[in-house]
């Protein structure tokens, strides 16, 4: 169940990165639609965080340790919103580049989460 969420969140993060990268390529700042996209990705990572905690509460153990697992879940949840706030302050193409970088970072975190969980 968690693996599916990890995959979906990772793919969504890459799509967000590509979308914002495209905006940067066209010399545009992030717009309302991009922020809706960020909200969707953030929601996915929030669902993942909750699902991960529920699984831990049910007694399941991540392969590489509970602390690392929770730390990565929290990092994944905070990643895109943090980049989003920075793009609010930077209303140029560089704000879009930053969100794109945030999407790539989240995708990497999802790969690590998959390993940590032991999928």
């Amino acid at each position: 169940m968690l693996d599916v969420l990890t995959l979906v969140t990772g793919v969504a993060a890459l799509l967000l990165a590509a979308w914002c990268g495209w905006a940067a390529y066209r010399d545009q700042p992030t717009k309302d639609w991009h922020f809706i996209g960020m909200a969707v990705v953030t929601l996915l990572s929030l669902i993942q965080l909750v699902a991960g905690i529920v699984l831990l509460a049910q007694g399941e153990k991540p392969e590489q340790g509970t602390t690392i697992f929770v730390a990565y879940l929290l990092g994944a949840f905070a990643c895109v919103p943090a980049a989003g706030f920075m793009s609010l302050a930077e209303r140029t193409r560089w704000g879009s580049v930053t969100v794109a970088a945030g999407g790539v970072v989240l995708a990497v975190l999802e790969v690590r989460l998959y390993d940590i969980w032991g999928g």
Binding site: G75, C79, M86, A89, W94, V97, T98, A101, G102
Partner: protein, 142 residues
């Protein structure tokens, strides 16, 4: 130092490409500090050198991030010096891990030139030095 200088608003280092730099440095701070804190707390004896180096890397990243956010000429110079130190650290530790792997039972942030972090540790100081060297124009080019 004249009293008038403090009144002038600090040169902004985080406009334009600086935004991306601050974001990536922020990610590296979280990555290096949390990683080394966890490893030092739980299994320091396994690879003391590697974990200490990760902690130092985290501190350097933290200082650069703070300097970039703070802005101004002094911060620019301080950040520039730290970026040079960071680059030297990445190159030294990267080479060291390749020549003498036995000294590092576990990886550091800077092992193999930061390969585990998509080579960001070696690319970041290069782009930051490029960005900080020329100084930032007073007005946003937008």
């Amino acid at each position: 130092m004249t009293s008038g200088e403090a009144e002038v608003s600090r040169q902004r280092l985080i406009s334009g490409p600086g935004t991306l730099l601050v974001w990536l440095y922020g990610v590296m701070v979280v990555g290096a500090v949390s990683r080394s804190a966890y490893q030092i707390a739980t299994e320091f004896d396994r690879a003391p050198l590697a974990y200490s180096l990760s902690a130092v890397a985290g501190l350097v990243y933290g200082f650069i991030t703070y300097s970039l956010v703070r802005g101004g000429e002094t911060a620019r110079k301080a950040a520039l010096a730290c970026c040079v130190a960071e680059l030297a650290g990445v190159l030294t530790v990267g080479t060291w891990t390749l020549i003498e792997p036995s000294a590092f039972p576990d990886a550091t942030v800077w092992s193999d030139f930061g390969m585990g972090y998509l080579f960001i540790p070696v690319l970041l100081p290069l782009s930051a030095i490029y960005w900080l060297r020329r100084g930032v124009p007073r007005e946003d080019a937008a």
